[in-house]
Amino acid sequence: MSDVGFHLAFWSLSALTIGGALMIIVSRNLIHAVIFLILSFIGVAGLFITLSADFLALVQILVYVGAIAVLMLFAILLTPRAARDNEESLMRYPAMILMGLVIAAGVFVALETDWGPMREGAIGTQAKIIGESLINQYVLPFEIGAVMLTAALVGAIALARQDDEDLPIHTASLIEEGVLPPPDGDAADAPAGPGDDS
Protein backbone atom coordinates (compact mmCIF):
# COMPACT_ATOMS: atom_id res chain seq x y z
CA MET A 1 0.00 0.00 0.00
CA SER A 2 1.21 3.44 -0.73
CA ASP A 3 2.21 5.84 1.97
CA VAL A 4 -1.00 7.80 1.58
CA GLY A 5 -3.07 4.67 1.98
CA PHE A 6 -1.17 3.68 5.08
CA HIS A 7 -1.68 7.06 6.72
CA LEU A 8 -5.33 7.02 5.74
CA ALA A 9 -5.71 3.59 7.34
CA PHE A 10 -3.85 4.60 10.47
CA TRP A 11 -5.79 7.79 11.05
CA SER A 12 -9.18 6.29 10.28
CA LEU A 13 -8.49 3.35 12.59
CA SER A 14 -7.29 5.69 15.32
CA ALA A 15 -10.38 7.80 14.90
CA LEU A 16 -12.53 4.66 15.12
CA THR A 17 -10.77 3.51 18.28
CA ILE A 18 -10.81 6.81 20.13
CA GLY A 19 -14.20 7.90 18.82
CA GLY A 20 -15.70 4.58 19.84
CA ALA A 21 -14.13 4.85 23.27
CA LEU A 22 -15.50 8.37 23.76
CA MET A 23 -18.95 7.31 22.67
CA ILE A 24 -18.92 4.52 25.26
CA ILE A 25 -18.68 7.16 27.95
CA VAL A 26 -21.23 9.48 26.40
CA SER A 27 -23.96 6.98 25.56
CA ARG A 28 -26.56 6.41 28.26
CA ASN A 29 -27.76 3.15 26.85
CA LEU A 30 -25.65 0.17 27.83
CA ILE A 31 -26.28 -1.76 24.62
CA HIS A 32 -25.16 1.24 22.60
CA ALA A 33 -22.08 1.42 24.80
CA VAL A 34 -21.20 -2.19 24.02
CA ILE A 35 -21.65 -1.58 20.30
CA PHE A 36 -19.27 1.37 20.49
CA LEU A 37 -16.90 -0.80 22.48
CA ILE A 38 -16.99 -3.33 19.67
CA LEU A 39 -16.15 -0.61 17.14
CA SER A 40 -13.30 0.42 19.36
CA PHE A 41 -12.05 -3.18 19.54
CA ILE A 42 -12.15 -3.41 15.76
CA GLY A 43 -10.13 -0.21 15.53
CA VAL A 44 -7.53 -1.65 17.90
CA ALA A 45 -7.35 -4.80 15.78
CA GLY A 46 -6.72 -2.63 12.73
CA LEU A 47 -3.96 -0.80 14.56
CA PHE A 48 -2.34 -4.14 15.36
CA ILE A 49 -2.32 -4.82 11.63
CA THR A 50 -0.53 -1.56 10.94
CA LEU A 51 2.13 -2.84 13.35
CA SER A 52 2.39 -6.08 11.31
CA ALA A 53 0.93 -8.05 14.21
CA ASP A 54 -1.67 -9.95 12.24
CA PHE A 55 -2.10 -12.79 14.70
CA LEU A 56 -2.78 -10.41 17.57
CA ALA A 57 -5.28 -8.56 15.42
CA LEU A 58 -7.21 -11.72 14.65
CA VAL A 59 -7.13 -12.76 18.29
CA GLN A 60 -8.43 -9.33 19.20
CA ILE A 61 -11.41 -9.88 16.91
CA LEU A 62 -11.90 -13.53 17.79
CA VAL A 63 -11.74 -13.15 21.57
CA TYR A 64 -12.71 -9.57 22.31
CA VAL A 65 -15.44 -9.06 19.74
CA GLY A 66 -16.50 -12.65 19.22
CA ALA A 67 -16.52 -13.73 22.85
CA ILE A 68 -16.15 -10.92 25.37
CA ALA A 69 -18.50 -8.49 23.66
CA VAL A 70 -21.09 -11.22 23.26
CA LEU A 71 -20.64 -12.10 26.92
CA MET A 72 -21.22 -8.45 27.83
CA LEU A 73 -24.33 -8.28 25.68
CA PHE A 74 -25.73 -11.37 27.38
CA ALA A 75 -24.84 -9.94 30.77
CA ILE A 76 -26.64 -6.68 30.01
CA LEU A 77 -29.69 -8.49 28.72
CA LEU A 78 -29.59 -10.55 31.89
CA THR A 79 -29.95 -7.53 34.16
CA PRO A 80 -33.52 -6.32 34.05
CA ARG A 81 -34.10 -2.76 32.85
CA ALA A 82 -30.47 -1.78 33.01
CA ALA A 83 -30.03 -0.82 29.41
CA ARG A 84 -33.08 1.27 28.64
CA ASP A 85 -32.89 3.77 31.44
CA ASN A 86 -29.44 4.09 32.83
CA GLU A 87 -30.05 6.17 35.93
CA GLU A 88 -27.79 8.71 37.53
CA SER A 89 -25.96 7.24 40.43
CA LEU A 90 -23.89 8.55 43.30
CA MET A 91 -21.10 6.22 42.28
CA ARG A 92 -20.32 8.38 39.30
CA TYR A 93 -18.31 10.93 41.28
CA PRO A 94 -15.81 8.41 42.70
CA ALA A 95 -15.75 6.78 39.27
CA MET A 96 -14.96 10.12 37.65
CA ILE A 97 -12.12 10.74 40.07
CA LEU A 98 -10.73 7.25 39.52
CA MET A 99 -10.91 7.54 35.75
CA GLY A 100 -9.35 10.98 35.92
CA LEU A 101 -6.39 9.47 37.75
CA VAL A 102 -6.13 6.65 35.23
CA ILE A 103 -6.20 9.09 32.32
CA ALA A 104 -3.59 11.28 34.04
CA ALA A 105 -1.36 8.24 34.49
CA GLY A 106 -1.85 7.31 30.83
CA VAL A 107 -0.99 10.81 29.65
CA PHE A 108 2.05 10.85 31.93
CA VAL A 109 3.31 7.55 30.50
CA ALA A 110 2.66 8.72 26.95
CA LEU A 111 4.59 11.94 27.51
CA GLU A 112 7.48 10.41 29.42
CA THR A 113 8.10 7.41 27.17
CA ASP A 114 10.90 7.81 24.70
CA TRP A 115 8.99 6.86 21.57
CA GLY A 116 11.13 5.63 18.75
CA PRO A 117 10.76 3.49 15.68
CA MET A 118 10.60 -0.23 16.26
CA ARG A 119 14.05 -1.70 15.76
CA GLU A 120 13.03 -5.17 14.75
CA GLY A 121 9.68 -6.02 13.32
CA ALA A 122 7.89 -9.30 13.67
CA ILE A 123 9.66 -11.40 11.08
CA GLY A 124 8.15 -14.47 9.52
CA THR A 125 4.75 -15.65 10.51
CA GLN A 126 3.56 -14.31 13.77
CA ALA A 127 1.52 -17.30 14.80
CA LYS A 128 4.60 -19.49 14.53
CA ILE A 129 6.72 -17.18 16.63
CA ILE A 130 4.08 -17.02 19.33
CA GLY A 131 3.77 -20.79 19.26
CA GLU A 132 7.50 -21.20 19.64
CA SER A 133 7.84 -18.79 22.52
CA LEU A 134 4.87 -20.40 24.26
CA ILE A 135 6.66 -23.69 24.11
CA ASN A 136 10.21 -22.55 24.75
CA GLN A 137 10.11 -19.63 27.15
CA TYR A 138 6.68 -19.43 28.66
CA VAL A 139 5.78 -23.02 29.43
CA LEU A 140 4.83 -22.41 33.04
CA PRO A 141 2.73 -19.27 32.43
CA PHE A 142 1.04 -21.19 29.64
CA GLU A 143 0.00 -24.05 31.92
CA ILE A 144 -0.94 -21.64 34.70
CA GLY A 145 -3.11 -19.93 32.13
CA ALA A 146 -4.98 -23.18 31.59
CA VAL A 147 -5.55 -23.55 35.32
CA MET A 148 -6.74 -19.96 35.57
CA LEU A 149 -9.15 -20.43 32.70
CA THR A 150 -10.57 -23.51 34.37
CA ALA A 151 -10.82 -21.67 37.67
CA ALA A 152 -12.66 -18.83 35.96
CA LEU A 153 -15.03 -21.34 34.45
CA VAL A 154 -15.71 -23.07 37.75
CA GLY A 155 -16.15 -19.76 39.52
CA ALA A 156 -18.59 -18.45 36.96
CA ILE A 157 -20.65 -21.62 37.13
CA ALA A 158 -20.67 -21.56 40.91
CA LEU A 159 -21.87 -17.95 40.89
CA ALA A 160 -24.42 -18.18 38.14
CA ARG A 161 -25.83 -21.62 38.58
CA GLN A 162 -29.39 -21.91 39.73
CA ASP A 163 -30.08 -23.65 42.97
CA ASP A 164 -32.23 -26.69 42.75
CA GLU A 165 -35.03 -25.07 44.73
CA ASP A 166 -35.42 -22.34 42.15
CA LEU A 167 -36.26 -24.75 39.40
CA PRO A 168 -39.86 -24.84 38.34
CA ILE A 169 -41.50 -28.03 39.47
CA HIS A 170 -44.03 -29.67 37.28
CA THR A 171 -47.05 -31.16 38.94
CA ALA A 172 -46.92 -34.20 36.71
CA SER A 173 -43.43 -35.18 37.80
CA LEU A 174 -44.35 -34.67 41.47
CA ILE A 175 -47.31 -36.99 41.09
CA GLU A 176 -45.05 -39.48 39.42
CA GLU A 177 -42.62 -39.36 42.32
CA GLY A 178 -45.43 -39.79 44.81
CA VAL A 179 -44.96 -36.40 46.47
CA LEU A 180 -48.42 -35.32 45.47
CA PRO A 181 -51.46 -37.58 45.50
CA PRO A 182 -52.86 -38.34 42.06
CA PRO A 183 -55.84 -36.21 41.08
CA ASP A 184 -58.87 -37.58 42.88
CA GLY A 185 -62.36 -38.25 41.67
CA ASP A 186 -63.29 -40.23 38.66
CA ALA A 187 -59.89 -39.67 37.05
CA ALA A 188 -58.58 -42.39 39.35
CA ASP A 189 -60.27 -45.19 37.51
CA ALA A 190 -59.10 -43.92 34.12
CA PRO A 191 -55.96 -45.56 32.82
CA ALA A 192 -53.43 -42.73 33.09
CA GLY A 193 -50.59 -43.90 30.95
CA PRO A 194 -48.68 -41.36 28.90
CA GLY A 195 -49.05 -43.40 25.74
CA ASP A 196 -52.78 -43.73 26.17
CA ASP A 197 -54.70 -41.39 23.95
CA SER A 198 -58.17 -41.94 25.31
Partner: protein, 400 residues
Protein backbone atom coordinates in the same frame (compact mmCIF):
# COMPACT_ATOMS: atom_id res chain seq x y z
CA UNK B 1 -10.98 -18.13 -17.63
CA UNK B 2 -9.28 -15.29 -19.48
CA UNK B 3 -10.89 -12.69 -17.21
CA UNK B 4 -9.22 -14.07 -14.16
CA UNK B 5 -5.81 -14.06 -15.80
CA UNK B 6 -6.18 -10.50 -16.93
CA UNK B 7 -7.11 -9.43 -13.43
CA UNK B 8 -4.10 -10.94 -11.75
CA UNK B 9 -1.84 -9.56 -14.47
CA UNK B 10 -3.25 -6.13 -13.81
CA UNK B 11 -1.24 -6.03 -10.64
CA UNK B 12 1.81 -7.10 -12.59
CA UNK B 13 1.78 -4.11 -14.85
CA UNK B 14 1.99 -1.65 -12.04
CA UNK B 15 -1.60 -1.09 -11.15
CA UNK B 16 -1.96 0.49 -7.72
CA UNK B 17 -2.66 -2.13 -5.13
CA UNK B 18 -5.99 -0.72 -4.04
CA UNK B 19 -7.33 -0.55 -7.59
CA UNK B 20 -6.47 -4.20 -8.06
CA UNK B 21 -8.20 -5.04 -4.79
CA UNK B 22 -11.21 -2.96 -5.79
CA UNK B 23 -11.56 -4.77 -9.12
CA UNK B 24 -11.48 -8.10 -7.36
CA UNK B 25 -14.01 -6.95 -4.77
CA UNK B 26 -16.41 -5.74 -7.45
CA UNK B 27 -16.04 -9.11 -9.12
CA UNK B 28 -16.99 -10.74 -5.82
CA UNK B 29 -19.99 -8.44 -5.42
CA UNK B 30 -21.33 -9.59 -8.78
CA UNK B 31 -20.61 -13.21 -7.99
CA UNK B 32 -22.30 -12.93 -4.61
CA UNK B 33 -25.50 -11.42 -5.96
CA UNK B 34 -25.82 -13.93 -8.78
CA UNK B 35 -24.93 -16.75 -6.42
CA UNK B 36 -27.68 -15.78 -3.99
CA UNK B 37 -30.30 -15.52 -6.72
CA UNK B 38 -29.24 -18.88 -8.15
CA UNK B 39 -29.06 -20.62 -4.78
CA UNK B 40 -32.53 -19.50 -3.70
CA UNK B 41 -33.99 -20.78 -6.96
CA UNK B 42 -32.03 -24.03 -6.82
CA UNK B 43 -32.92 -24.62 -3.21
CA UNK B 44 -36.61 -24.29 -3.99
CA UNK B 45 -36.28 -26.61 -6.96
CA UNK B 46 -34.22 -29.22 -5.16
CA UNK B 47 -36.41 -29.18 -2.06
CA UNK B 48 -39.47 -29.49 -4.24
CA UNK B 49 -38.02 -32.57 -5.91
CA UNK B 50 -37.32 -34.12 -2.53
CA UNK B 51 -40.94 -33.56 -1.59
CA UNK B 52 -42.31 -34.85 -4.93
CA UNK B 53 -43.33 -31.38 -6.11
CA UNK B 54 -42.05 -29.37 -9.06
CA UNK B 55 -41.24 -26.06 -7.41
CA UNK B 56 -41.49 -22.69 -9.17
CA UNK B 57 -42.48 -23.03 -12.83
CA UNK B 58 -44.38 -19.91 -13.86
CA UNK B 59 -41.73 -17.18 -14.07
CA UNK B 60 -39.64 -17.78 -17.15
CA UNK B 61 -38.72 -21.20 -18.51
CA UNK B 62 -38.91 -23.75 -15.66
CA UNK B 63 -39.30 -20.84 -13.28
CA UNK B 64 -35.75 -19.68 -13.68
CA UNK B 65 -36.64 -16.02 -13.22
CA UNK B 66 -38.35 -16.67 -9.89
CA UNK B 67 -35.49 -15.22 -7.84
CA UNK B 68 -35.25 -12.16 -10.04
CA UNK B 69 -38.98 -11.58 -9.64
CA UNK B 70 -38.64 -11.99 -5.88
CA UNK B 71 -35.78 -9.53 -5.78
CA UNK B 72 -37.79 -7.02 -7.75
CA UNK B 73 -40.74 -7.45 -5.43
CA UNK B 74 -38.57 -6.97 -2.35
CA UNK B 75 -37.02 -3.87 -3.83
CA UNK B 76 -40.39 -2.23 -4.37
CA UNK B 77 -41.81 -3.26 -1.02
CA UNK B 78 -42.38 -0.72 1.70
CA UNK B 79 -39.60 -0.54 4.22
CA UNK B 80 -41.25 -0.51 7.63
CA UNK B 81 -39.55 0.14 10.92
CA UNK B 82 -41.40 -0.24 14.22
CA UNK B 83 -41.83 3.12 15.90
CA UNK B 84 -40.59 1.82 19.19
CA UNK B 85 -37.46 0.26 17.64
CA UNK B 86 -34.06 1.62 18.51
CA UNK B 87 -33.40 3.43 15.26
CA UNK B 88 -29.64 3.27 14.96
CA UNK B 89 -29.19 -0.25 16.27
CA UNK B 90 -32.00 -1.41 13.99
CA UNK B 91 -30.48 0.18 10.89
CA UNK B 92 -26.86 -0.67 11.61
CA UNK B 93 -27.62 -4.31 12.35
CA UNK B 94 -28.03 -4.94 8.62
CA UNK B 95 -24.49 -3.74 8.04
CA UNK B 96 -23.12 -5.71 10.95
CA UNK B 97 -24.69 -8.88 9.59
CA UNK B 98 -23.75 -8.41 5.97
CA UNK B 99 -20.30 -6.79 5.92
CA UNK B 100 -18.51 -9.56 7.91
CA UNK B 101 -19.86 -12.17 5.53
CA UNK B 102 -18.54 -10.09 2.65
CA UNK B 103 -15.16 -9.74 4.38
CA UNK B 104 -14.90 -13.51 4.66
CA UNK B 105 -14.37 -13.73 0.90
CA UNK B 106 -10.93 -12.17 1.04
CA UNK B 107 -8.68 -15.19 1.71
CA UNK B 108 -10.83 -17.82 -0.06
CA UNK B 109 -8.89 -19.22 -3.04
CA UNK B 110 -10.97 -19.88 -6.15
CA UNK B 111 -8.02 -21.06 -8.21
CA UNK B 112 -4.30 -21.31 -7.63
CA UNK B 113 -3.83 -17.69 -8.55
CA UNK B 114 -7.24 -16.12 -8.17
CA UNK B 115 -8.23 -14.90 -4.75
CA UNK B 116 -8.68 -11.40 -3.43
CA UNK B 117 -5.68 -11.43 -1.12
CA UNK B 118 -3.43 -14.21 0.10
CA UNK B 119 -3.64 -13.82 3.87
CA UNK B 120 -0.99 -15.64 5.85
CA UNK B 121 -3.48 -16.42 8.63
CA UNK B 122 -6.44 -16.77 6.30
CA UNK B 123 -7.96 -19.75 8.09
CA UNK B 124 -8.08 -17.97 11.43
CA UNK B 125 -9.23 -14.77 9.73
CA UNK B 126 -12.36 -16.43 8.37
CA UNK B 127 -13.42 -17.55 11.83
CA UNK B 128 -12.56 -14.22 13.42
CA UNK B 129 -14.71 -12.33 10.94
CA UNK B 130 -17.49 -14.87 11.28
CA UNK B 131 -17.64 -13.94 14.97
CA UNK B 132 -18.53 -10.35 14.05
CA UNK B 133 -21.71 -11.63 12.47
CA UNK B 134 -23.02 -12.69 15.89
CA UNK B 135 -22.94 -9.10 17.09
CA UNK B 136 -25.10 -8.06 14.15
CA UNK B 137 -27.60 -10.78 14.97
CA UNK B 138 -27.94 -9.63 18.58
CA UNK B 139 -28.22 -6.02 17.41
CA UNK B 140 -31.04 -6.95 15.04
CA UNK B 141 -32.81 -8.90 17.75
CA UNK B 142 -32.53 -6.24 20.40
CA UNK B 143 -32.99 -3.22 18.19
CA UNK B 144 -36.35 -4.37 16.85
CA UNK B 145 -38.00 -4.00 20.26
CA UNK B 146 -39.81 -7.23 19.58
CA UNK B 147 -39.90 -10.09 22.05
CA UNK B 148 -39.65 -12.75 19.39
CA UNK B 149 -36.80 -10.96 17.68
CA UNK B 150 -34.88 -10.69 20.94
CA UNK B 151 -35.47 -14.33 21.71
CA UNK B 152 -34.40 -15.33 18.20
CA UNK B 153 -31.36 -13.07 18.37
CA UNK B 154 -29.96 -14.38 21.62
CA UNK B 155 -30.74 -17.95 20.64
CA UNK B 156 -28.96 -17.43 17.33
CA UNK B 157 -25.99 -15.97 19.14
CA UNK B 158 -25.86 -18.80 21.67
CA UNK B 159 -26.06 -21.33 18.87
CA UNK B 160 -23.40 -19.60 16.80
CA UNK B 161 -20.88 -19.41 19.65
CA UNK B 162 -21.55 -23.01 20.63
CA UNK B 163 -20.89 -24.38 17.18
CA UNK B 164 -17.92 -22.14 16.52
CA UNK B 165 -15.84 -24.11 19.03
CA UNK B 166 -16.04 -27.57 17.41
CA UNK B 167 -15.49 -25.90 14.05
CA UNK B 168 -12.36 -24.14 15.25
CA UNK B 169 -11.07 -27.38 16.75
CA UNK B 170 -11.71 -29.21 13.49
CA UNK B 171 -9.76 -26.44 11.78
CA UNK B 172 -6.91 -26.89 14.28
CA UNK B 173 -6.76 -30.57 13.37
CA UNK B 174 -6.29 -29.68 9.72
CA UNK B 175 -3.67 -27.08 10.60
CA UNK B 176 -1.66 -29.70 12.49
CA UNK B 177 -1.63 -32.06 9.50
CA UNK B 178 -0.83 -29.25 7.08
CA UNK B 179 2.03 -28.15 9.33
CA UNK B 180 3.45 -31.67 9.20
CA UNK B 181 3.21 -31.78 5.43
CA UNK B 182 4.80 -28.38 5.07
CA UNK B 183 7.65 -29.49 7.29
CA UNK B 184 8.18 -32.56 5.12
CA UNK B 185 8.21 -30.33 2.07
CA UNK B 186 10.85 -28.19 3.71
CA UNK B 187 8.70 -25.06 3.87
CA UNK B 188 8.49 -22.68 6.78
CA UNK B 189 5.12 -21.49 8.06
CA UNK B 190 1.94 -21.18 6.09
CA UNK B 191 -0.07 -23.85 7.87
CA UNK B 192 -2.84 -21.29 8.44
CA UNK B 193 -2.73 -20.02 4.88
CA UNK B 194 -5.66 -21.33 2.86
CA UNK B 195 -3.70 -21.38 -0.39
CA UNK B 196 -0.90 -23.40 1.14
CA UNK B 197 -3.38 -25.79 2.70
CA UNK B 198 -4.94 -26.44 -0.71
CA UNK B 199 -1.50 -26.80 -2.23
CA UNK B 200 -0.66 -29.54 0.27
CA UNK B 201 -3.61 -31.59 -0.96
CA UNK B 202 -2.32 -32.30 -4.44
CA UNK B 203 -2.41 -36.04 -3.82
CA UNK B 204 -4.64 -36.60 -0.80
CA UNK B 205 -7.59 -34.43 0.14
CA UNK B 206 -7.77 -33.81 3.86
CA UNK B 207 -11.24 -35.33 4.06
CA UNK B 208 -9.48 -38.70 3.92
CA UNK B 209 -7.20 -37.74 6.79
CA UNK B 210 -9.84 -35.94 8.84
CA UNK B 211 -13.25 -37.42 8.09
CA UNK B 212 -14.46 -36.53 11.58
CA UNK B 213 -13.15 -33.00 11.15
CA UNK B 214 -15.05 -32.68 7.90
CA UNK B 215 -18.32 -33.84 9.41
CA UNK B 216 -17.93 -31.53 12.40
CA UNK B 217 -17.07 -28.68 10.07
CA UNK B 218 -20.16 -29.22 7.94
CA UNK B 219 -22.47 -29.48 10.95
CA UNK B 220 -20.89 -26.33 12.33
CA UNK B 221 -21.34 -24.57 9.01
CA UNK B 222 -25.04 -25.44 8.99
CA UNK B 223 -25.44 -24.21 12.53
CA UNK B 224 -23.47 -21.00 11.99
CA UNK B 225 -25.65 -20.05 9.06
CA UNK B 226 -28.85 -21.06 10.90
CA UNK B 227 -29.72 -23.52 8.18
CA UNK B 228 -32.20 -26.33 8.76
CA UNK B 229 -32.10 -28.54 10.79
CA UNK B 230 -30.34 -25.95 12.96
CA UNK B 231 -32.72 -23.12 12.15
CA UNK B 232 -34.33 -22.90 15.58
CA UNK B 233 -33.48 -19.19 16.06
CA UNK B 234 -35.08 -18.20 12.75
CA UNK B 235 -37.98 -20.62 12.79
CA UNK B 236 -41.38 -19.24 11.86
CA UNK B 237 -43.35 -21.61 14.01
CA UNK B 238 -41.29 -21.00 17.16
CA UNK B 239 -40.15 -17.40 17.18
CA UNK B 240 -42.09 -15.95 14.21
CA UNK B 241 -38.98 -15.76 12.07
CA UNK B 242 -36.42 -14.88 14.69
CA UNK B 243 -34.23 -11.83 14.80
CA UNK B 244 -35.39 -10.37 11.50
CA UNK B 245 -39.16 -10.41 12.15
CA UNK B 246 -39.35 -6.64 12.05
CA UNK B 247 -37.29 -6.23 8.91
CA UNK B 248 -39.17 -5.92 5.67
CA UNK B 249 -38.46 -5.37 2.02
CA UNK B 250 -34.87 -4.85 1.02
CA UNK B 251 -33.47 -4.96 4.56
CA UNK B 252 -34.98 -8.38 5.05
CA UNK B 253 -33.48 -9.52 1.77
CA UNK B 254 -30.08 -8.30 2.99
CA UNK B 255 -30.32 -10.87 5.77
CA UNK B 256 -31.03 -13.46 3.13
CA UNK B 257 -28.15 -12.25 0.98
CA UNK B 258 -25.91 -12.65 4.02
CA UNK B 259 -27.28 -16.11 4.77
CA UNK B 260 -26.84 -17.52 1.29
CA UNK B 261 -23.48 -15.86 0.81
CA UNK B 262 -22.41 -17.30 4.13
CA UNK B 263 -23.59 -20.71 3.01
CA UNK B 264 -21.60 -20.40 -0.20
CA UNK B 265 -18.54 -19.25 1.72
CA UNK B 266 -18.77 -22.10 4.17
CA UNK B 267 -18.88 -24.69 1.41
CA UNK B 268 -16.07 -22.89 -0.42
CA UNK B 269 -14.03 -23.07 2.77
CA UNK B 270 -14.95 -26.72 3.19
CA UNK B 271 -14.04 -27.46 -0.40
CA UNK B 272 -10.66 -25.74 -0.11
CA UNK B 273 -9.73 -27.14 3.27
CA UNK B 274 -11.12 -30.66 3.13
CA UNK B 275 -11.76 -31.50 -0.50
CA UNK B 276 -8.59 -30.15 -2.03
CA UNK B 277 -9.95 -27.03 -3.75
CA UNK B 278 -8.68 -26.80 -7.29
CA UNK B 279 -6.78 -30.12 -7.19
CA UNK B 280 -7.67 -33.42 -8.89
CA UNK B 281 -8.64 -35.16 -10.99
CA UNK B 282 -6.54 -33.14 -13.40
CA UNK B 283 -4.23 -31.58 -10.84
CA UNK B 284 -3.15 -28.00 -10.49
CA UNK B 285 -1.45 -28.15 -13.87
CA UNK B 286 -4.78 -28.36 -15.66
CA UNK B 287 -4.99 -24.61 -15.96
CA UNK B 288 -7.22 -21.94 -14.48
CA UNK B 289 -10.28 -23.08 -16.36
CA UNK B 290 -10.32 -26.52 -14.84
CA UNK B 291 -9.28 -25.23 -11.45
CA UNK B 292 -12.27 -22.95 -11.05
CA UNK B 293 -14.58 -25.65 -12.39
CA UNK B 294 -13.24 -28.12 -9.85
CA UNK B 295 -13.51 -25.74 -6.91
CA UNK B 296 -17.03 -24.78 -7.81
CA UNK B 297 -18.06 -28.37 -8.55
CA UNK B 298 -16.90 -29.46 -5.11
CA UNK B 299 -18.68 -26.51 -3.52
CA UNK B 300 -21.87 -27.25 -5.45
CA UNK B 301 -21.81 -30.89 -4.42
CA UNK B 302 -21.55 -29.82 -0.80
CA UNK B 303 -24.38 -27.33 -1.19
CA UNK B 304 -26.51 -30.09 -2.65
CA UNK B 305 -25.76 -32.23 0.40
CA UNK B 306 -26.79 -29.36 2.65
CA UNK B 307 -30.09 -29.00 0.77
CA UNK B 308 -30.53 -32.72 1.12
CA UNK B 309 -29.99 -32.53 4.86
CA UNK B 310 -32.60 -29.80 5.01
CA UNK B 311 -35.11 -32.05 3.28
CA UNK B 312 -34.22 -35.02 5.43
CA UNK B 313 -34.17 -33.86 9.04
CA UNK B 314 -36.74 -32.20 11.24
CA UNK B 315 -35.71 -29.11 13.17
CA UNK B 316 -33.73 -29.65 16.34
CA UNK B 317 -35.11 -28.30 19.60
CA UNK B 318 -33.02 -25.66 21.33
CA UNK B 319 -31.98 -27.98 24.17
CA UNK B 320 -31.02 -30.76 21.75
CA UNK B 321 -29.15 -28.22 19.69
CA UNK B 322 -27.00 -26.96 22.55
CA UNK B 323 -26.49 -30.40 24.04
CA UNK B 324 -25.35 -31.75 20.69
CA UNK B 325 -22.67 -29.11 20.38
CA UNK B 326 -21.35 -29.16 23.94
CA UNK B 327 -21.77 -32.80 24.87
CA UNK B 328 -21.12 -34.56 21.58
CA UNK B 329 -19.26 -32.43 19.07
CA UNK B 330 -16.91 -30.59 21.44
CA UNK B 331 -15.56 -33.72 23.20
CA UNK B 332 -15.12 -35.46 19.86
CA UNK B 333 -13.36 -32.45 18.35
CA UNK B 334 -11.03 -32.30 21.37
CA UNK B 335 -10.34 -36.02 21.03
CA UNK B 336 -9.52 -35.49 17.39
CA UNK B 337 -7.00 -32.76 18.20
CA UNK B 338 -5.36 -34.86 20.91
CA UNK B 339 -5.21 -37.93 18.67
CA UNK B 340 -3.70 -35.92 15.82
CA UNK B 341 -1.11 -34.42 18.12
CA UNK B 342 -0.02 -37.73 19.59
CA UNK B 343 0.13 -39.57 16.27
CA UNK B 344 1.98 -36.79 14.49
CA UNK B 345 4.42 -36.20 17.33
CA UNK B 346 5.37 -39.86 17.41
CA UNK B 347 5.89 -39.87 13.67
CA UNK B 348 2.81 -41.84 12.70
CA UNK B 349 2.10 -41.92 8.98
CA UNK B 350 -0.84 -40.16 7.40
CA UNK B 351 -2.99 -43.23 7.04
CA UNK B 352 -2.94 -43.78 10.81
CA UNK B 353 -4.24 -40.24 11.30
CA UNK B 354 -6.98 -40.92 8.80
CA UNK B 355 -7.88 -44.26 10.30
CA UNK B 356 -8.10 -42.91 13.85
CA UNK B 357 -10.24 -40.03 12.66
CA UNK B 358 -12.48 -42.46 10.82
CA UNK B 359 -12.77 -44.62 13.93
CA UNK B 360 -13.78 -41.55 15.92
CA UNK B 361 -16.35 -40.67 13.28
CA UNK B 362 -17.79 -44.16 13.39
CA UNK B 363 -18.06 -44.01 17.16
CA UNK B 364 -19.71 -40.59 16.88
CA UNK B 365 -22.31 -41.96 14.52
CA UNK B 366 -22.80 -45.01 16.71
CA UNK B 367 -23.24 -42.80 19.76
CA UNK B 368 -25.86 -40.69 18.03
CA UNK B 369 -27.65 -43.83 16.91
CA UNK B 370 -27.67 -45.27 20.42
CA UNK B 371 -28.88 -41.97 21.90
CA UNK B 372 -31.68 -41.65 19.38
CA UNK B 373 -32.69 -45.26 19.93
CA UNK B 374 -32.70 -44.84 23.68
CA UNK B 375 -34.92 -41.81 23.32
CA UNK B 376 -37.27 -43.55 20.94
CA UNK B 377 -37.54 -46.37 23.48
CA UNK B 378 -38.96 -43.86 25.94
CA UNK B 379 -36.57 -44.82 28.74
CA UNK B 380 -35.04 -41.40 29.16
CA UNK B 381 -37.92 -39.01 29.24
CA UNK B 382 -36.00 -36.16 30.81
CA UNK B 383 -35.76 -34.31 27.53
CA UNK B 384 -39.49 -34.30 26.97
CA UNK B 385 -41.68 -31.46 28.16
CA UNK B 386 -43.91 -32.09 31.14
CA UNK B 387 -47.00 -34.01 30.17
CA UNK B 388 -50.33 -32.29 30.44
CA UNK B 389 -52.88 -33.98 32.66
CA UNK B 390 -55.11 -36.38 30.86
CA UNK B 391 -58.68 -35.28 30.52
CA UNK B 392 -60.84 -38.35 30.62
CA UNK B 393 -63.92 -38.82 28.57
CA UNK B 394 -66.12 -38.89 31.66
CA UNK B 395 -64.81 -35.45 32.68
CA UNK B 396 -65.64 -34.08 29.27
CA UNK B 397 -69.08 -35.66 29.39
CA UNK B 398 -69.84 -34.22 32.83
CA UNK B 399 -68.97 -30.78 31.53
CA UNK B 400 -66.18 -29.95 33.99
Amino acid sequence: MPDAIVLSEFAGIGMPDWVDALIRLVFIVALMTLNTLALIYLERKVLARFQARVGPTRTGPVGILQSAADALKLLTKEDVRPHSADRWVFELAVFFVFVPVFLMFIPIPFTETWFIRDLELGFLYVFAVLGLNIVGVIMAGWGSDNKYALLGGIRAAAQAISYELPMLLAAAGVVMIAAGHLLDAGLVGGALNLNTIVDQQRTTPYILLQPLGFVIFMIGALAEMHRPPFDMPVAESEVVGGYFVEYSGIRWSMFFLAEYTGLFLMVMLGSTVFLGGWNFPFGADAGLGWQIVLTLAKASAMIFVLFWLRAMFPRLRIDQLMAFSWKVLLPFALLQVLANGIILAYGGPDWVVGLVSLALLVSLVALIYVLVRAKAGGDSIHLEPARPRLVTSTEVASGD
